[in-house]
Symmetry: C2
């Protein structure tokens, strides 16, 4: 059988190649550059075709498709969320994604996105904090020390100048794992025994837990004035992390309101509770932090444009490298109308 | 670097392997078996999570995601439709799809679906005709002799006992291509110079053209009593093939009304125009053909469950064969919470 033509082949970035790429560039560089791609795309927000993700919920979790497009490219991510997976030796979240040409519909990149989602989520959080965190913030509390924890810590170091992270998890083994991984990154790491201890002196509080239930990771009395809350874990219906009273004291910033109202912390609030869209802050069309004593809250759920930016970034970065394989994913008959003839002649 | 664990790997069926599988089994066998998988899934229709496909339209075409799930598996297809591609040497339609486990969200198959969609579309048409075509139908007119044409012809031979196909296309080269490919399949093939000539004596009329515009491939006076119309090409907003008067004289059968009313021939009719759902016909809960003089119309747009059936079928068939590769698509750290550690240690 003759090898397929170039038109049939799609560059594929495996998990191994993604890790090789990130390690070759350095994780902090990747986080910084990713953040700049995401920022650029947020600043041209109105150019995108946007839709809330398409979620298929089951008893144990959710499988989602997150598509978006601009005039040139179409991108989507497949991602699952299964909190119980961890106990069975599987990832809570795995993902892959595709970037395509809008002009002809052909995929131009297939990439693993488990590692890439961890990177883009952290890059987005730190990018948002650049606009919202108190000026000169140096200390971040990290409540929840699972798979996302170290990525957040490193992104806040690289992008916001955070120097100290204070870790807490209901499972001390998770805290120990994160502390071990962050040793040698240049961050001061403090393992804490309670959530209250973790937030002592922190200007930024990141909550990043995974239970699919209405949990209260932060209670109202834990949160003082002048902090920025980076709430990552509340990201599907029925899953929140913050006490409602904290929300009422905060100015709330979101990615895409139609999705966040269903999935984010603000599902606990009225449907018309005021929120600010981050793309407007980044364009200077809405106010970010206006007061050192204000509580700002990024109600993060993750939006398709962030994945689009990440795929766009990886497609650029792997060019001219060895960090991808070519997959025979698309049929390419000599005559486009002769698909059957191609099948026949292969026989 | 150590090779990834089994949990990180997803079986991938390339275009080459799909063709090898189909040729090893024989296309007619595949079409028959595919039809039986599709029929089984249509008969348990209420068990599926259903949603109209998520379409991203642009000037030149459309990119769609088509997800569905039962209690055990989740499946989706990525598919584009770009009529102008053909002139530039690209396929009008390319596709790939994924089947996953609902229990943990992990993909269990990634497959090319350009060839597979051609097969499942033809298998669905012939399956539907088994319920709706006039008894003893032997002759099919095929208007539009593009990439889907020969698959339709072979499926109607294998599943419905069609012995003669009468081909017509506005481009005689397309007709010649189809006639050439169908020589030796056992079908009697008649190349025709007009649509009118093609439908002479045909009990089944298949329309399968690709222009994205309100076209009228069949006018009212061309269609007599006692035929079954298999309308494949009208499958997105603004794209239809049949004159409205034909629709008014026909009993109309559809896959999934919420999707067909947007995309199918019936977009030309009132939103409450009566249609019959095929799954109900297959379950014996609604009537199929009741009268030899009746005109039945399958307003085919293609529904996610057909792709789900096709992926389920391929996942079964490649087991124990050489017709797949293993892709390192999912991250699998030793400890699911230690994604960052995995990245670090790979460096």
């Amino acid at each position: 059988m003759t090898p397929p033509s170039d038109k049939a082949l799609v560059p594929f970035v495996s998990v191994e190649n993604m890790m090789r790429l990130v390690n070759a560039m350095g994780a902090e560089t990747v986080l910084r550059e990713l953040a700049s791609y995401i920022e650029a795309d947020f600043k041209r927000w109105p150019e995108f075709d946007k839709t809330p993700r398409v979620a298929s919920h089951s008893t144990d979790g959710v499988i989602e498709l997150m598509p978006t497009a601009d005039a040139e490219n179409y991108g989507f991510k497949y991602v699952n969320g299964h909190p119980k997976n961890m106990k069975e030796g599987y990832q809570t979240v795995t993902a892959f994604g595709v970037l395509s040409s809008v002009a002809n519909g052909y995929p131009i990149l297939l990439s693993e996105m488990t590692v890439l989602t961890a990177l883009r989520t952290a890059a987005t959080s730190a990018l948002v904090a650049k606009y919202l965190a108190p000026k000169g913030a140096k200390t971040m509390a990290m409540i929840g020390n699972g798979a996302q924890c170290e990525f957040q810590a490193l992104a806040f170091k690289a992008i916001c100048g955070i120097t100290t992270v204070r870790l807490y998890d209901i499972d001390p083994a998770a805290t120990a794992k994160a502390a071990r991984n962050l040793a040698g990154t240049g961050l001061t790491v403090v393992a804490c025994k309670t959530g209250e201890e973790a937030i002592e002196g922190a200007e930024v509080i990141t909550t990043c837990t995974a239970d699919k239930q209405y949990a209260t990771i932060l209670t109202d009395n834990m949160v003082g004035a002048g902090v920025h809350i980076n709430a990552i874990g509340g990201d599907c219906p029925g899953k929140t992390e913050l006490h409602r009273d904290i929300l009422l004291r905060s100015d709330i910033f979101v990615e895409y309101p139609p999705q966040t109202r269903i999935e984010g912390e603000i599902q606990a609030l009225d449907a018309d509770h005021p929120v600010t869209e981050l793309w407007q802050v980044m364009r200077g069309q809405a106010e970010g932090r206006r007061d050192p004593r204000q509580i700002t809250l990024f109600d993060s759920v993750g939006f398709a444009i962030e994945d689009f930016s990440a795929l766009r970034y990886i497609a650029e970065k792997v060019k001219g490298t060895e960090f991808f394989d070519m997959l025979d994913m698309l049929a390419d008959p000599d005559d486009p109308r002769d698909l059957f003839g191609m099948l026949q002649r292969a026989g």
